[in-house]
């Protein structure tokens, strides 16, 4: 029981107040302690800051063509690194004016700036000045979440203060301008300049830089392509802030406010110039970098390639210009439906252009429209080459005992159980090898191949650059084994380069962004090997000239003085090829469908692929130094009857190894069509 006395209640009250106050103090101290712990006041922030300190501004890997022109970039985030020294002064001014006017004076946190921003906001209702310093934004971007809380704010301030102690202002600014998302998939001012104005940041004018600076606050809200009015309004705000900050005069500001903002529609470079080539280069680069144990993305690699952009554009446009014709053919294909009811694939076309002497891949068009199909038919597609394979057989034959004027009796043949298709109109027509070649007759090629021995032909094909595995079947002699366009480019390059084969290359050099060479292609002399005698290569060149002059490519005879080539058509015209060359340029063209659909009846390499090759080559040779095929010594020509192989004034020009040219000027064969018989003396009666 408690005794009662006067003031006892007061004592009790005081005691309670004291205890409560004590407890409150303890709790408060504990709370502050917890708060300070939470914001990392007691933790080692240095470790976290290392992320920023050691941050290496990512950079796209850039691909250049053979002239050093940029043709594409590889990236995860689209970033165009701009070193501090290259950041335009007006951009810095604009940024400071709108985001952090005291950037170069505060220690990472700017109470005055904060107050000014609050006052400005209360006064104008517009956040025309940033409340956070640039340093705070960097810290927030790298280390913190987007949570809006006092603790996070305190933490941000503490880390900013710490960061400023360890990193120069310029570097913080450099990181800031290069890493912030600025809309349209761009990160940093360099990429934003490209995306919105289609030019490097160094070429932007002040009013354009002001727009870029305005994006930092809310790139989505002020996206100029989506919301041009908002973007303009924001730009005006930035310019006014610059004026208020004393960076611009009144008149200059007025002038800049009126300057029009002209945006370029964003066309991704990667799909604009040589999309198929870039895909190929990316894959090739990854092969190289994996060997070097470095990554391709974000490394800012400088990839120098062999691409001739002008030729690639020409090739792309040439195929594009065939759209109507190819679509018309497509429409005629069984109403676009296959026998099983499924729709026929769209007719596709692809072209690969290489320099036979350097091995450079100059142009690569993997399909008619990259937007519709990214499937690269020059590298990924394995197709039957048809008669474009025949030069393998003929070149081997000519390197043995055969001559262009050797006679073949064209008739159906059976090899084992194989009966190659032949044109009935050719049957019972004796012909020279030359004529059989330029008319692309099948049975003579099979006979020749049989005579040479299939294994020898396959080995020869390998030597000529056909790296795809070939079937050990007679059908291979007529191009029945699938190859890719690189195989054909290597083969035809060997003929074009006088029997020398140069390893094809598309990447000539890879540097890191500091200019250090990471990869260098082998020098030419180490990539070049002699495959056949120049005389034999020349004989083949002249054989292929015959294709254009008299044969399946005669519709392009106007090119025969400068270029040569061979048509090819696989079964049911599913594949239509033309492979041809000048002394400096090899162009391989393929036309077909991805599902191997049969083409309409009159389709062939000569009707589908050759027109593309023709238009391309006709333009390409205009831009290149004219050069004729060099005739090696020991090669002679003669005017020879194309069917009977004898010298004939009305014949065609054929080429021979010296000493093997025909000497006879009459053939018994000639008499039969002329006289109707041969030694048929009893026939008069």
């Amino acid at each position: 029981m408690f005794r009662s006395y006067p003031g006892r209640a007061l004592v009790w009250v005081l005691q309670i107040v004291f205890v409560a106050g004590f407890l409150s103090a303890v709790i408060s101290v504990g709370g502050v302690f917890v708060l300070m712990r939470d914001i990392g006041l007691f933790s080692d922030n240095n470790q976290a800051l290392k992320v920023i300190q050691q941050y290496r501004t990512p950079d796209n890997s850039v691909v250049f063509d053979k002239n050093g022109e940029k043709i594409g970039e590889f990236f995860t985030n689209y970033q165009v690194y701009v070193p501090y020294r290259e950041i335009p002064a007006d951009l810095i001014k604009a940024l400071l004016a709108i985001e952090d006017r005291n950037f170069f004076y505060h220690k990472g946190f700017d109470p005055k700036g904060l107050m000014r921003a609050v006052v400005n906001y209360l006064r104008s209702g517009h956040a025309d000045q940033g409340a956070s310093t640039l340093t705070q934004q960097v810290v927030r971007h790298f280390l913190l979440t987007k949570e809006r809380s006092m603790a996070r704010k305190v933490q941000e301030i503490i880390l900013s203060l710490k960061l400023e102690k360890t990193m120069p202002k310029e570097r913080i600014l450099e990181i800031y301008v290069n890493t912030m998302f600025l809309g349209n998939g761009s990160y940093g001012v360099g990429s934003a300049a490209q995306r919105y104005f289609g030019k490097p940041i160094s070429q932007l004018r002040t009013h354009e830089l002001a727009l870029i600076a305005g994006l930092f606050q809310s790139p989505s809200r002020y996206n100029p392509t989506k919301f041009p009015e908002r973007a303009k309004k924001r730009q005006r705000l930035v310019l006014k802030a610059m004026k208020n900050a004393g960076y611009l005069t009144e008149s200059k500001t007025k002038q800049l406010l009126e300057a029009p903002l002209i945006y370029t529609e964003y066309v991704p470079l990667n799909t604009a110039v040589a999309p198929y080539f870039l895909d190929y280069i990316k894959a090739e680069t990854e092969k190289i970098t994996s060997r070097l144990e470095i990554s391709t993305l974000g490394r800012g690699l400088r990839i120098y390639t062999s691409l001739d952009t002008a030729l690639n554009t020409l090739a792309t446009d040439t195929i594009k210009n065939e759209d109507a014709r190819l679509d018309a053919v497509g429409k005629s294909m069984a109403q676009g439906v296959r026998p099983d009811g499924s729709p026929v694939s769209r007719i596709e076309a692809s072209m690969l252009v290489v320099d036979p002497n350097s091995g450079d891949v100059l142009a690569m068009v993997g399909g008619r429209d990259y937007g519709k199909s990214q499937y690269n038919r020059t590298t990924q597609s394995m197709r039957s080459p048809g008669s474009t394979f025949k030069p393998v057989v003929y070149s081997l034959a000519l390197s043995k005992e055969s001559k262009w004027n050797d006679i073949v009796y064209v008739s159906p043949i059976m090899v084992g159980n194989y009966r190659p298709k032949g044109s009935k109109s050719d049957f019972l027509s004796e012909t020279t090898l030359y004529r059989a070649f330029y008319k692309s007759m099948n049975t003579p090629a099979v006979e020749l191949g049989e005579k040479l021995g299939l294994p020898n032909v396959l080995e020869h094909a390998k030597q000529l650059g056909v790296q795809s595995p070939l079937k050990n079947e007679v059908g291979t002699l007529l191009g029945g084994s699938d190859v890719n366009m690189f195989d054909m480019a290597r083969m035809y390059s060997t003929f074009a380069a006088e029997g020398n084969q140069t390893e094809l290359q598309s990447i000539t050099r890879i540097e890191d962004r500091s200019g250090r060479i990471l990869y260098q292609a082998k020098p030419l002399e180490k990539r070049k090997v002699s495959i056949m005698r120049p005389e034999i290569a020349y004989l083949m060149t002249e054989g292929m000239r015959g294709v254009l002059k008299h044969g399946t490519g005669a519709q392009s005879s106007h090119l025969a003085p400068f270029a040569v080539g061979k048509t090819g058509t696989s079964n049911e015209a599913a594949d239509n090829w033309f492979c041809g060359y000048t002394p400096d340029l090899v162009a391989v063209v393929w036309v077909g469908t991805d599902d191997h659909s049969a083409m309409p009846g009159d389709s062939a390499g000569g009707t589908l692929a050759l027109p593309i090759w023709d238009r391309f080559m006709s333009e390409a040779i205009k831009t290149r130094k004219s050069r004729s095929f060099r005739r090696p010594s020991g090669i002679v020509s003669a005017i020879v009857h194309p069917q009977y192989g004898t010298k004939s004034r009305s014949g065609v020009e054929m080429f021979f190894l010296q000493g093997t040219e025909p000497t006879e000027s009459a053939s018994s064969l000639e008499q039969i069509p002329t006289e109707g018989n041969y030694r048929g003396i009893f026939g008069h009666h």
């Binding site: 009966r419 018994s668 039969i672």
Partner: protein, 529 residues
């Protein structure tokens, strides 16, 4: 000038060189063993037994235009006899009238010419005893008088101009060597037309009184010359194949031409020697009834061979040639449809099992090979194609038999192994074994001649041989034109004749043209002797 008989100096020595030199120097000289006063046996026989060749059967009803295979006609030409008068009156005036009608108007015959009188004769004249003798004498005179001239009728222009030209070249190449004066040889171009031929025959008879006619290179000319030779008792060297039957179409017609029957005989003999007993026959269209084919079939049967075919084909038409070959080897789907359907199904199933596309072109019936050889009388080019077609049909090996049309370099170049062991007949052996005057200039290749030359060489040889015979005959002194027939029949062969037979002609007036057989072996052709 009396001809000096050099033969006395070179008695029994047939030294060709001296002959040529002396003939060039003294064209009128003679190499006969006998001088004009000392008649040669041939000349003597011609005079003494000058009716042997004209021993014609008066009872025969021989048509005026004899055709091949006609039985020989016997007739005795005796001056003053009535039967002879009638027989001659039925033939000679008809020939004269025809020639008069078809002569060129510029060839004028005087109204009082004996020719007009002969043309007017009818068999009735022989019935009148008063006129019979005169009539007979007149007729005999008409077929007796001649000048030692040779008229050569050739199609030098027109459709057969090339052939005629080749023959002409052959004759020209021989002319300077025979002792025949240029004016003794008269060339006339028939322009490959029968009407021209008839005109020139008229000229030869009326104007030149030719002793011998050479011609008949085309079918029309051949028939015409046979007719006139028979009607006018006009000795004629016919540049045409002999008749298939062993018969004499007219005693005045002599064939100077290769002999297909002899070639067949030679070929079949060699084939039999190789064990060939079953022969398939493939014929180019239009050759079914040719002498070559018919004689081949007959001779093959005579030798006990079985024949499959003949099957004809259209040369230069692949489907036709394959069809003909299929008939021999019975690969025709229609004839073996059941077997084909089974093979088709099997192939389909196999393709399905292997997941490969089925292609009916790869389904073929195995050939039934029941012949030992196939005879194809066509050119080397067709033969090469048939070799390919046979292979295509699955016939792994087949001996092929043929004729001279095979003989060309492209037969073996490029080499076609399938033809190894195949054989063909020819009327010319190795070129370098021909008499010197015949040998081609390009004598470096004894087996083949270049290009177009091979065909013309054959015709040139025919012309050369014919003229050699004509010049030899005409140079033998003879009293009467019809007596030249006996001269020709008894003519012996010399080193400059193609034939190796003792006499130039056989008993059916056919030149004894030899036959050869070549075999393809070791990538070349070789003569099988």
């Amino acid at each position: 000038m009396k001809a000096f008989n050099f033969q006395k100096i070179f008695d029994k020595r047939h030294h060709i060189f001296f002959k040529l030199v002396l003939l060039a120097a003294f064209p009128s000289c003679s190499f006969n063993k006998y001088s004009e006063t000392q008649k040669s046996p041939v000349a003597k026989a011609s005079e003494d037994k000058d009716y042997d060749a004209l021993d014609l059967d008066l009872n025969s009803t021989a048509p005026l235009h004899p055709t091949r295979g006609q039985p020989p006609v016997k007739q005795t030409l005796t001056e003053g006899s009535r039967p002879n008068c009638e027989k001659m009156a039925k033939r000679v005036p008809v020939g004269y009238r025809n020639l008069l009608a078809h002569r060129n108007p510029s060839l004028r015959i005087p109204e009082n010419s004996v020719i007009n009188r002969i043309a007017a004769i009818t068999p009735d004249h022989c019935l009148d005893p008063a006129r019979a003798n005169d009539t007979t004498r007149l007729l005999i005179e008409a077929v007796s008088n001649f000048s030692p001239k040779i008229v050569v009728l050739l199609p030098l222009t027109g459709a057969n101009g090339a052939q005629g030209k080749a023959v002409y070249d052959g004759i020209r190449s021989r002319m300077g060597m025979t002792g025949i004066k240029p004016e003794q040889v008269i060339f006339r171009d028939t322009n490959s037309k029968d009407s021209f031929s008839e005109n020139w025959i008229a000229e030869a008879v009326f104007l030149h009184q030719a002793g011998l006619i050479i011609g008949g290179l085309t079918r029309g000319e051949e028939i015409m010359l046979r007719t006139y030779a028979n009607q006018l008792y006009l000795p004629t060297l016919l540049l045409a194949p002999p008749l298939r039957e062993n018969s004499l179409s007219s005693p005045y017609v002599f064939n100077v031409f290769p002999n297909e029957m002899a070639m067949n005989e030679a070929l079949l003999t060699k084939a039999t020697g190789r064990g060939v007993k079953r022969v398939g026959v493939l014929l180019p269209s239009g050759r079914n009834d040719s002498d070559l084919v018919q004689s081949f079939l007959e001779m093959a049967k005579q030798k006990g061979m079985s024949i499959t075919g003949p099957f004809t084909y259209e040369p230069g038409t692949y489907d036709s040639m394959e069809r003909a070959a299929s008939q021999i080897f019975k690969t025709n789907r229609g004839e073996r449809s059941r077997e084909y359907q089974e093979a088709l199904k099997k192939a389909k199933d196999k393709a399905a099992a292997e997941g490969k596309p089925f292609d009916p072109r790869f389904v073929i019936l195995k050939p039934i090979v029941d012949v030992d050889a196939v005879f194809i009388p066509d050119n080397f080019k067709t033969i090469r194609y048939f070799a390919k077609i046979f292979k295509y049909l699955g016939v792994e090996k087949m001996t092929m038999l043929g004729n001279q049309e095979w003989r060309a370099t492209p037969l073996i170049q490029p080499y076609e192994p399938y033809l190894e062991g195949s054989m063909f007949s020819d009327y010319i052996g190795y070129y370098n074994e021909l008499p010197h005057t015949f040998r081609p200039f390009a004598g470096d290749n004894k087996k083949f001649l270049m290009g177009l030359y091979a065909g013309t060489f054959d015709l040139k040889s025919i012309g050369l041989q014919a003229f050699q015979i004509a010049s030899n005959a005409i140079r033998i002194p003879t009293q009467k034109r019809y007596q030249l027939v006996n001269t020709l029949r008894l003519l012996g062969s010399g080193p400059e004749d193609i034939t190796r037979a003792p006499s130039v002609f056989d008993r059916f007036n056919r030149f004894n043209w030899p036959a050869y057989v070549f075999e393809i072996t070791n990538k070349d052709i070789f003569l099988r002797r």
